[in-house]
Symmetry: C5
Subunit: 372 residues, 5 copies
């Protein structure tokens, strides 16, 4: 039985720190991408985007308090970039380490002049593997810095809402922008869960139609993915709750009202994850019971056929024995040896007895309910 | 074995938001029904119902503070309706989004001038599938707005109590009406659970009488439904608790006393759900143990019959061998070849030995307790 | 295999409210018993009991503050009785509904002038079925009303202590009487749990001596009963805790000291229930492992016998073939056809080879440990 | 298969109160031992022990505030003793009931002039059964009363430390003595858990070497004992925590510092219990998987042998058929009946074909990995 | 089947105290190593290390408040050392007992003039066994004492950072040094978990490729190690939280900021442990389902072959019977005995019938899906 190709999944290694580095060390991976830096500058009336080569003069640009700024940084290969952040914007070294070591759980941390937050951006790649990317936020009074390791993301809807100025997004300031990004990241979780919910439905159909062992493998795969998403959703919930209860002046009351909405979504996600986990477990239980049932059926076939024919074969064996009724050497008669063989209807009687035994056994099995 | 038709259940898709929409967007489904709007106007003495075409002049009507109003809205196809609510009654956009995106969990949210609450109305359809409809409440000082997506509901008893003016319902104001509706929605949960409890009892009877694999399927189906109802009951409990602890002036102390009663009911529902889940689990355990037992029985039959007849067949096979005691070509005597065959009582002795072997085995199996 | 009669248990239907009734409706079941009303009037010195026909002049009697009164009401068929309670003693309608709808969980509710509490009286009937009856308390300053649906109860020890005036019971006032009744109800739980503990011990003995499938059924029955008792014990604990923390002047400090003792008992009950549940689970695990072991043994017997005799039978079959060494028609010699048959010791050699094969297999199985 | 003797365990009946006794009744069991009363009188300089016949003049003795007293009472047959306690030392009736009803959970209760506490003394008897004895403490300002039902205990190390005056014990007052006794009782739990840990290691070795069904029984026995010790350890922890948070002047700050140490020990015990429970569960899982594996192996042997020889036996059976190529009566030739039998190499060809079939099957099973 | 050598694991005995010792007794194991004492003396500018023979004049050295000191003590054989600590540095006896009894859980305790803390240093030895060593901290204003039982540790990265003066380490004072050591100890947990994660991935690969029973053993081994690491990680988390909330002036605010980072790491560890546990459980579930499936396959082979050939063998057996159509003695014709044998095409017809039966059965099994 060939293993389905899709189980050759890309391993999702849990990336881990290496012991011994000094705390607060900025970590530049050798495979890090070159940074692409975009600066969005907008207020209710105006909107412009430009790509920056570096952030050396960003401090000056951001002194314009009539606009809100989104500094979007993709790719971490430039150590200078982080050093500029540290120098010009007084960002704590531990924060920079957390941005560059991309295995952080969702969390929110308040500092005197900025708020640092982490979301996990989940996406299904073309092979339905779950990709789990860190998305970091650095919120100041009129700017939001965001950091992501790769170039792809799921944030285009926010960018286009920003561009066309629909809804609150141009009015809400930097904290509303942070909310909008967090919210869309959470919303993609729903899409992923929806896909898995459908997959579980398909698996359940297969359970009824033709259960084979891929049912088990596929369900376990989804279950493991659900474990991964739950590892993200619970701390995400805590993070949103921390933001709701935050005293920081950087997060406006209006934003908090929206964060409460995102918090509700996050609760729903946890709720759906738990439900899907229970459905997975129930699928596995049913699969195992189907296996047991099938074993029972197989054994019943074997037992019925063996039980009927083994005794009959024995009887045939008896009358296949060569006990002689005449000694071939001396010619002495041995009349007690298998006289049945020399009766006119011996064969007939034997066949009738065999048929009787078979019928009795069939009745016995019938009444035990083995034919149902 | 044909699958019972009832497993062809209607899928209960968990409806999910789509990522990227601006928060606070009113969502009008393409399949939404045309709104039916009824206005109930009552106080202790008077009661009247009329159907409205739209709610454009509702603001004026509701300025009559001598009556309580129930604005019952069924069907969401009219965007204008929600815009009127937003304009005339200053309803928050997020609230309107929650009303129209009907996958909210039960919750209660307080705003300055209204209270928003969500209940989930559960009903069994004709195929015993669980339907899960959102029922939203918008409570103001002298009016209650309710919203439901479909036309059917389980609220007729409240409507008739309102009509005949029995009990507290005409005196308690808008918050009591909200309570009465929430209460009847919760009470239907009891009916559903009662039906499933009976079903589980039936399944248990089948376990004792003729356990087959539908036991497993049916129990799993109920278990999954119990998961669904639990997903509703826990947040419902939290919602009622939030209302109990609410500071809002819109909810009277008398209503809170009744809400405490509904809260007790909700605790009971959770309690029953957990009990039924344990009963389901216990049914499944028993089913699996029955399967194992049955396998044991099948194997015992096979083993007893095989063990008895296989050695006997072997003996018969021995004496069916054709070792010659006279070489047919040379006529040389070969007296050592199967001399038993040429003894006067060889056949008899063989049969006695076979019988003995069979009896010994039967005794052996008997003492092992395999015939019990 | 006949099902043991005791599994024909009386179903313990979870009684459920019907949706739609107005909250606060007194519910008189059509099968309700006629009320028997007893009035106990006592203080440190005096004690008298009389049966009342109705409670119409009870209000007057209870104005005697030198005595404590116990108004014991059994049977709910009289609507008038409850209306009198409502009118004369100002009892809330919701309280009366809770008294008459006898599926309440244990709880305590404080009102201005009385305390309402519910206990669940558990008793084993003659068939060892668990009966679960509601016992309601209505505590005023100098009187305790109690309500029970049926005539039987387990409270005689309290009545006799009251009569002979032993201990605190005549001095402690109405709240102590309520405690004494609650305490004895809890104490009967111990007796029931003791009976089930013994039953589980018996089942465990059967597990070692002759495990059959009734082990599973009986353990599951106890497990289900434990679920029921736990559903009662947890809210009972909460109720007692609520009374301990109550501010009501109706419950004296001395009574609270005793309630603390009852609370300890309740904790012990929960503790025992959890232990018995774990013992049940462990019994079921052991049963399933015994089943598996037995299957292994059965299969070993089958495999040993089949493996030994099937090859031997094959050999016997070989020499039972009729390949001719002389063509019966032409008389041509066919010396290559089964020459073994015409050797002087062919039979002997064959038997030796068969014995060898059997011995080798037995050694093989022995070394695999299958004979242990 | 004989049951191992050690499973004939002494039942550890959970002792239970009998419903109906008046609360606060001193309970003297008919099998209670005669009390042995020892009075330890000590301070930093002096130490003396004497055995008392009764405690009638204890009140006078204890007025000497320059010494600390330990009144050690073993055996409960004297009602007079408890009545003296009640009269001379004003001990609450509920306390005396708790001392004499020896199924209390560990707890601490503060009264105006004394502190009452209960520990559970666990010991393994010679058959490795767990004995669970109640040890009660009654702490006053300069005296500690202790109560135990039987004469044996595990407290000798404390007595000898008291005698030789090592460490804090003579200086710490009555509350330190209570701590020292509680601490040694907890320390014996470690010894018991250590013994069980070793036993579980042995069981695990047997799992690898020769797993038989005693593995299951022995593991379940330990698991059940672990449940018992957990039932003691959790309330013990709560008790120590209550003492730590106690406001009673009877417990000195220095004692509390030591109690914190005992609390740490108790946490460790709970921790070890949970670990051992998980190890037990893991042993059981492995045992079940070993059983399954063994079943697989047994079935493989059966299937390989049956599958190889059954078809061969069939072929042999074919050529054992007696279809005649000459009608024995008429002498008519029937050349189509089994011509193979009369071919010069028929036997040889048949044997070759049989060998071929066998080899093909062996290759098939080999490639399926059944010989590994 | 040989057991893999790696299961001959070194037992990780849970070391336990022996009952009866006086609390606060310093415990010197007979196998304790000779102490190696190193004194690190450093500030921002200077750094020096020297090895001390004893700590008798340490009190004087530490009065230099311009430097921070790290007193690193490895090996506990010297009682004098601990007595000096007690006398010169006024360390509580309970603290010294905790240092020398090396089975403490991670914890933090504040005293007037020092903070005592315990970490557990985990390391994998060359056989991949988990070693669990206690590392104790004693923090004063300008010095950190650390205690470890063995000479090996994982702290070299901190020593070299201290030497080269990189990062905060020379500036942060004694509390920062304590943090740095705690942090590196926690970071090694990540490495261990990473190794186990990889091992679980390998096991999963084996599950798909060639599942055998080592899968079960290896997974259980990892699961047990995960239980051990969890027993360390949870109290570690609590310890870090206690330090975060500590009021002690000995722990600076800057250190607390770093401790928050370590706390995050600890949460991540717990998170990973739980995920790996779930993956282990899922591997075991899949293994068991694979076992079941394989059993099904084995049984199918047996059943198909037996079911096809047993009936055919029976038919062959029939025509192997020796019913005579001529009485060999009298020569009487017995025409009813097996006339089929004397038909011209009897053999052919029989073979055709046999083939038919075989084909029908194959079709039957095919349609049942047994060949898939």
């Amino acid at each position: 039985m060939a293993k389905p190709a899709k189980h050759k999944k890309k391993r999702q290694h849990i990336e881990l720190p290496h012991a011994g580095a000094s705390p607060g060390t900025i970590f530049i991976d050798s495979k890090a991408l070159n940074p692409i830096i975009k600066l969005y500058r907008y207020n209710a009336e105006s909107y412009e985007v430009k790509e920056l080569k570096d952030i050396s003069n960003l401090k000056v640009l951001l002194q314009d308090k009539t606009h809100t700024f989104w500094v979007e940084i993709k790719g971490f290969s430039s150590l200078a970039l982080f050093e500029t952040l540290s120098r010009d914007f007084n960002v704590n070294k531990l924060t920079l380490e957390d941005i560059t070591r991309t295995y952080q759980r969702p969390k929110q941390e308040e500092y005197d002049h900025y708020v640092f937050a982490v979301s996990r951006m989940l996406q299904l790649d073309e092979n339905q593997n779950l990709e789990n990317q860190q998305y970091s936020f650095l919120l100041t009074d009129n700017a939001l810095f965001t950091f992501q390791e790769n170039y792809e993301d799921c944030l285009d809807p926010v960018r286009s809402r920003l561009k066309i100025g629909k809804g609150n997004i141009r009015l809400g300031g930097s904290s509303y922008l942070m909310y909008a990004l967090m919210d869309i990241i959470i919303d993609t979780y729903f899409e992923i869960l929806g896909a898995w919910g459908d997959e579980l439905d398909n698996i359940e159909d297969r359970l009824f139609d033709k259960p084979d062992k891929t049912v088990m493998f596929d369900t376990q795969l989804i279950k493991r993915n659900l474990i991964n998403i739950r590892r993200v959703a619970w701390p995400e919930r805590d993070k949103l709750n921390d933001i709701l209860r935050s005293d920081s002046h950087l997060i406006t009351d209006q934003t908090k009202m929206y964060i409460r909405d995102a918090y509700d979504h996050c609760i729903q996600i946890i709720d759906i994850v738990e439900s899907l986990k229970e459905i997975s477990a129930s699928n596995i239980d049913m699969y195992l019971s189907i296996i047991s049932n099938r074993m029972n059926e197989i054994m019943k076939v074997l037992t019925i056929i063996s039980s009927i024919f083994i005794p009959l074969t024995f009887i045939a064996g008896i009358y296949g024995m060569n006990f002689a009724n005449v000694d071939p050497v001396t010619g002495k008669l041995l009349p007690q040896n298998m006289p049945e063989l020399y009766q006119a209807n011996g064969y007939l009687y034997t066949m009738v007895i065999m048929a009787l035994i078979a019928v009795l056994q069939i009745i016995y099995f019938w009444r035990k309910g083995w034919f149902k």
